[in-house]
Structures are given as C-alpha cells and as structure tokens.
C-alpha cells in the first residue's frame, strides 16, 4: 500500500512539473529568435555542457551529486539564445540520465529521468526569465540566468524531496547553505569566465575552462575522502572497544540508532542528529581503559572500583581529542553521565550546563543498559535485565533528577513508534 501511495505521489509530481515545463519551453521557443549567430560556439558549448554533466562529483555519505553544466548553459542563454540553452540542458540531462542507470544496472529510472528533465526545463525557463529581466551586458544576463536557474533548481529539488521522500525542507536549505555557498561563488565566477570567452567568440579557448572544473572536482573528491576517513575512524575505534568489551557490540548500534531518532524527535536538524548517532557509537570508547573484571563484576562495586569505572567518560573525550573532526562531540561524550541535579560525573554539571546531546545519549544508554540485548552474551552480568516497561518506569522515576523530562518523553514516543512499548 505504501509503495503504491509513493508511486502515485511521484507520478503526480512528474505530471505537474512536466506540464509546467512543456508550457515554459513553448514560451522560450516563441520568445527567442531561432537563428544562430555562430554554430561552432553552440556546438562547443553543448559538448562541454554534456561532458560536464557526465563528470559529476558524488559525495555519497551526504547524498549530494554536483554537476558543472550551468556555466555553459548560462553562456548559451546570454550569448546565443534561450532555445539553444534549453536544448543543451535537456540533451545533457537526457543523455546522462539514460547512460548512468544502464552503467549502474539500475531499473525503473525512467520516472526519475522524467522528473530531472522537468526540473531542468523549468530551471532554464526561470533562468531565461530572470536573465531577460536583468538585460544589458551579456555577462549580467548570464549571471541573472544563473541566479534564476539556481534558485528554481534548488526550490524544485527541495519540493521533490519533501513530497516524495518526506525530507524536511529546512535540512535541504541548511545543507545547501553549508555546502553551497562556496559552490555558488565558484559557479558565478565560472559563468562570468565562460560568458566572457563566448561573448568574444574565443571558441578554442573554451575547453580550458575545464581546468578549474577539474580542480573543483578534485577538491570535492578530497572532501568525500575526508568523510570516508571520518567514518572509518569511528568504525576502527568502535572495533577496538568491541575487542576490549565484547558485550558493547549490539549495545552501541542500538543506542546510536535510537539516539538519532530521539534527536530528530526533539527537533534537532538532521545533520546534528547524525552527529548524535556518531557520538553514541563512541560514547563508551573510554571503557577501553577500564578493566573488564570491574565492568563485568557481578554484584556491587567497591568505591575504588566505581571511581575506576567513572573515569571512562573523561578518558573517552581524551581519546577523541587529537581528532579535529571529533572536537564538537568530545564534550557530549565527556558529559553523558552528568545528572540534572548536579550529582553526576565527571564535572557535576547541572541541567542547563549539560549539552542536549549528552542528555539524549544518557537516556538511551540507560534504557539499553537496563534491558540488554536479545543476545545472551550482551546481557550485563551484574543484574537481571528489566522488561521494556520496567525500564521505562525507571526512566520516568528518575526524570527531572537524573534525566531530562523532555528527552524522556521524546524517547518514549520513539519507543512507541518502534513498537517496543505499547503504551505511552
């Protein structure tokens, strides 16, 4: 049922955007002259646009795919006419949209190809509209085209994401602001350079504009490598912890998954929630330096033993300190055993001083520690596991003194949605 409803939504989007795009394309054909001043210029720009479309950069971890077609399409719009720009963009989108799914052995990509074509068409129409309004020097027209195209393209992608995937539009805006500001500056510079060369009919110099594109592609590749490296560091550290304390294996995964959902429930941005998930994977990394004979001891710990266990929060932060990418989450890990009433450890912080991320990890960690995993090897040796209902009752009892009441409520909602408890 859900699949059918999803298909209906996507087909509805395709029909709406496709119709609007067809109308816009007719307007461009009707408005602009059909004659072309310089065919070599058009052919070179169309070829470069297609080549740029074929060499995208994908940052898989962020779900981002960037192409570099826009400078060439904007130059066509400013220096030739609207319909060549439209044709170049549609041809490039169609050719690559047909080739990539075949190369990747994907099926059912025709609907998405249609949506991409509609988005491309509408973006060119908006770009052409803004470019025409700006008027004057050809470089100003090219910049106006880029602005209209960029805004329309971004708005339509956000609309499609929100309608089909249920993605919150603010997440798109925030990630675009973080990643996009530099990219848009680069695109603006590229539009000016390509426009300047096209205006002066320097056709043979145009292929050299692939040098900065190559440089930016390489820069984005490095960024992708840095993301990979970041996640591999998390993986390697969690492997070390699992070697030292095998019961943590399932515990870390469960706490991380639920902590992210609680963060989203509390209204944290998707990027922040993902960081909470990553911090939750590493929240017990300091236990590497804690004796397993103490951690797994049946019965009560002596004062000295408890002091030894308490060290793990600050040692975790110490292990992460050398890595710049963990600077933000190191305090969350240091404070995940603080209590609202100021009797926690290591720094005895009170309510307002404790980061919300630490509060989230604290609640989810406590619940999982009380209930344990389904695997017998993951159960804590020092006490019998509680049922989910008993653990929730314990969280409620400590809400306000040990745990943040808002976080406990959000956590209960997540458990209810996951079907782990039957009443809220």
């Amino acid at each position: 049922m859900e699949t059918r409803s999803y298909e209906r939504t996507v087909h509805g989007l395709l029909a709406t955007l496709g119709s609007l795009a067809v109308l816009g394309c007719f307007w461009i054909f009707a408005a602009g002259p059909l004659s072309v001043r310089s065919w070599p210029l058009v052919i070179v720009l169309v070829c470069l646009a297609a080549l740029a479309e074929m060499l995208p950069v994908e940052i898989a971890r962020k779900g981002v795919r960037i192409t570099f077609t826009l400078p060439y399409v904007a130059a066509l719009a400013a220096c030739v006419n609207g319909w060549t720009a439209l044709s170049a963009d549609l041809v490039a989108t169609f050719a690559v949209g047909m080739m990539l799914p075949v190369a990747r052995r994907q099926t059912g990509a025709s609907v998405w190809l249609g949506l991409n074509l509609a988005i491309s068409g509408l973006s060119v129409v908006c770009g052409w509209l803004v470019g025409s309004l700006v008027g004057g020097h050809q470089l100003a027209v090219a910049l106006g085209f880029m602005l209209g195209y960029g805004l329309a393209n971004f708005g339509l992608v956000v609309l499609v994401d929100a309608t089909s995937e249920g993605k919150v539009w603010t997440d798109n805006v925030l990630s675009a602001l973080r990643l996009g500001a530099k990219s848009y500056a680069f695109f603006a510079a590229m539009v000016l350079v390509v426009g300047a060369l096209a205006t002066n009919d320097l056709v043979y110099v145009l292929p050299l504009t692939f040098v900065p594109i190559w440089a930016l592609r390489t820069a984005l590749d490095y960024q992708a490598k840095m993301y990979d490296h970041y996640y591999e560091t998390i993986l390697a550290l969690s492997l070390m912890l699992q070697r030292a304390h095998p019961y943590t294996h399932g515990h870390l995964e469960r706490v991380a998954r639920i902590a992210e959902q609680v963060a989203l429930k509390l209204g944290l941005a998707a990027g922040r929630a993902r960081m909470v998930r990553e911090a939750a994977v590493l929240h017990d990394i300091g236990k590497i330096a804690v004796s397993e004979s103490v951690l797994d001891k049946p019965g009560r710990l002596t004062t000295d033993e408890f002091e030894h266990v308490k060290l793990h929060a600050q040692l975790g932060a110490k292990i992460l300190r050398p890595v710049g990418q963990f600077h933000e989450m190191a305090p969350w890990i240091r404070h995940h055993h603080e209590r609202l009433d100021g009797t926690g450890y290591p720094d005895r912080l009170t309510d307002v001083e404790i980061p919300i991320e630490s509060k989230i990890i604290a609640v989810v960690d406590a619940f999982d520690a009380m209930t344990g995993g389904e695997n017998a090897a993951e159960k804590r040796t020092y006490r019998e596991p509680k049922t989910h209902a008993e653990a929730v009752a314990e969280l409620e009892r400590c809400s306000g003194s040990q745990f943040d009441p808002g976080v406990v409520e959000a956590f209960k909602s997540v458990l209810f949605m996951e079907g782990l408890v039957w009443t809220r």
């Binding site: 020097h137 470089l139 510079a189 000016l192 350079v193 426009g195 300047a196 060369l197 205006t199 002066n200 040098v211 900065p212 440089a215 930016l216 390489t218 820069a219 490095y222 490598k225 840095m226 990979d228 490296h229 970041y230 591999e232 560091t233 993986l235 390697a236 550290l237 492997l239 070390m240 912890l241 070697r243 030292a244 990394i285 300091g286 590497i288 330096a289 804690v290 004796s291 397993e292 004979s293 040692l315 110490k318 292990i319 992460l320 300190r321 050398p322 890595v323 710049g324 990418q325 963990f326």
Partner: protein
C-alpha cells in the same frame, strides 16, 4: 575586448591558479593531517588501556622512520610504516586488562602467553576491517614474526619474504621494549644476539647506526625508576 571582459578573464586565470595550488598542495596535506590525528587517537586508546606502553609508540615511530630513511624506502612506504608503527598494538585491546596491567610478564600462564602472542594477528584482522588501513594490515600482522622461520610461526613468511617494514617494526619494537624494561645496554645485547635469527641483520646494523647518532635521545628506562 572591453575592459570588463579583460578583467573577468584575468581574475578567472588568477583564481584558477589559486584553486589548482589549493587542490594540489593544501588539500592533500589536510587529509594527511586528519589521518595522523586519527592514528594518534588509536595509540592514545592503547596507551590509556596499557599505561606501561606510554611513550613507546612515539619512540618506535621515530626510530623506524630513521631506519627507513637510511634504507632509502620511498615516501609512500615510509608513510605506511609510520601508520603501522602507530597501530601495531591496537590488538592489545583484546588482551584481558588485568593480565596486562596487574601481573608481571613472568607470572603469565602458558595460555596467557599464547593469548598475548596473538595480538599482532588480531591487530592485523582489525585493520583489515577498515578500508583505508587495509594496506598496512600485513605489516602489522607480521610485526613479531622472526626473520628465520621457526616451528612456532610456521604460517608466517620469513627472511626476505617478510615485508621490510615488518622486519623494521620487529627489531625496533622489541629494542624499545627491552630498553624500557632492561636498559639500553641489555637491549642492544638482545638485538645483537638475535641478529640473523629473530631480526634481519641489515635492519639491526642500521638500527645500531641510528642509535649511535647524537640526535637520538635514550628512552627513560624503568630499570632505575
């Protein structure tokens, strides 16, 4: 060509040169720095679990790199050697805490000794699980393998089949441990005695040469502590 167009083209040329410089020189360095930071985090974790290891890694790294330079290893292999030196003991995390910290090595049982001897293999297996570190897994796995094959290490390569980086780590790692626990004189004696059997004689000769250098400071020994 009007002045605005000329300005745009000159600015584009300068920006491209800046971007190419950034991509060719700055970004690789930044990635390298992040890689080193991560290695530091791993070795901090090992040193926090086993305080007796504190300070050893940095000395092993420094001596190994000095030997690698004298042996003219290419830069890429020196980088791998550095990473392997920092990560060689991450498998120690799987050794019981009490055995490593609360009891002397002489008091270990045979089973405990065998558990300890597996740490290099475990370190290698852990690195295999991390794509960017997979290349150095063999260097770490064999960093305690003897130069001459023996019955206890029948599965390990020996002689020239052992990667040179593993042979360097074997000699340097054990020298630094003996230096810490027995003092410099006895550590050098152990190296000379094991040359050709446990250690690659060429590596031992270069290590002795490196240790004679006035730039190499002795490690603070536990013997007189």
């Amino acid at each position: 060509m009007d002045p605005l167009t000329s300005f745009v083209l000159v600015a584009g040329l300068i920006s491209t040169a800046g971007l190419v410089y950034y991509v060719r020189f700055r970004l690789p360095r930044r990635l390298e720095e992040r890689f080193r930071d991560s290695l530091m985090a791993f070795s901090t974790a090992v040193e926090l679990r086993i305080p007796s290891q504190r300070g050893l890694t940095s000395r092993v790294v420094a001596l190994s790199l000095a030997i690698a330079r004298k042996l003219d290893l290419p830069e890429a292999r020196r980088r791998d050697l550095e990473a392997a030196a920092m990560l060689r003991d991450i498998g120690l995390c799987s050794i019981p805490y009490g055995m490593m910290n609360d009891r002397e090595e002489d008091a270990w049982t045979e089973a405990e000794r065998l558990t300890f001897d597996r740490h290099a293999e475990i370190s290698g297996a852990m690195l295999e699980a991390v794509p960017s570190l997979r290349a150095i897994a063999p260097l770490v796995r064999w960093h305690h393998a003897p130069f001459r094959a023996d019955d206890f290490n029948s599965s390990a390569p020996a002689g020239e089949s052992l990667p040179i980086e593993a042979r360097i780590l074997k000699a340097v790692g054990e020298y630094v441990w003996f230096e810490r626990t027995r003092g410099d004189f006895l550590a050098k004696e152990a190296l000379r005695d094991g040359s050709g059997v446990a250690y690659d004689p060429r590596v031992v000769a270069v290590l002795m040469e490196v240790l004679r250098s006035p730039r190499v400071r002795p490690l603070r020994s536990l013997v007189h502590a």
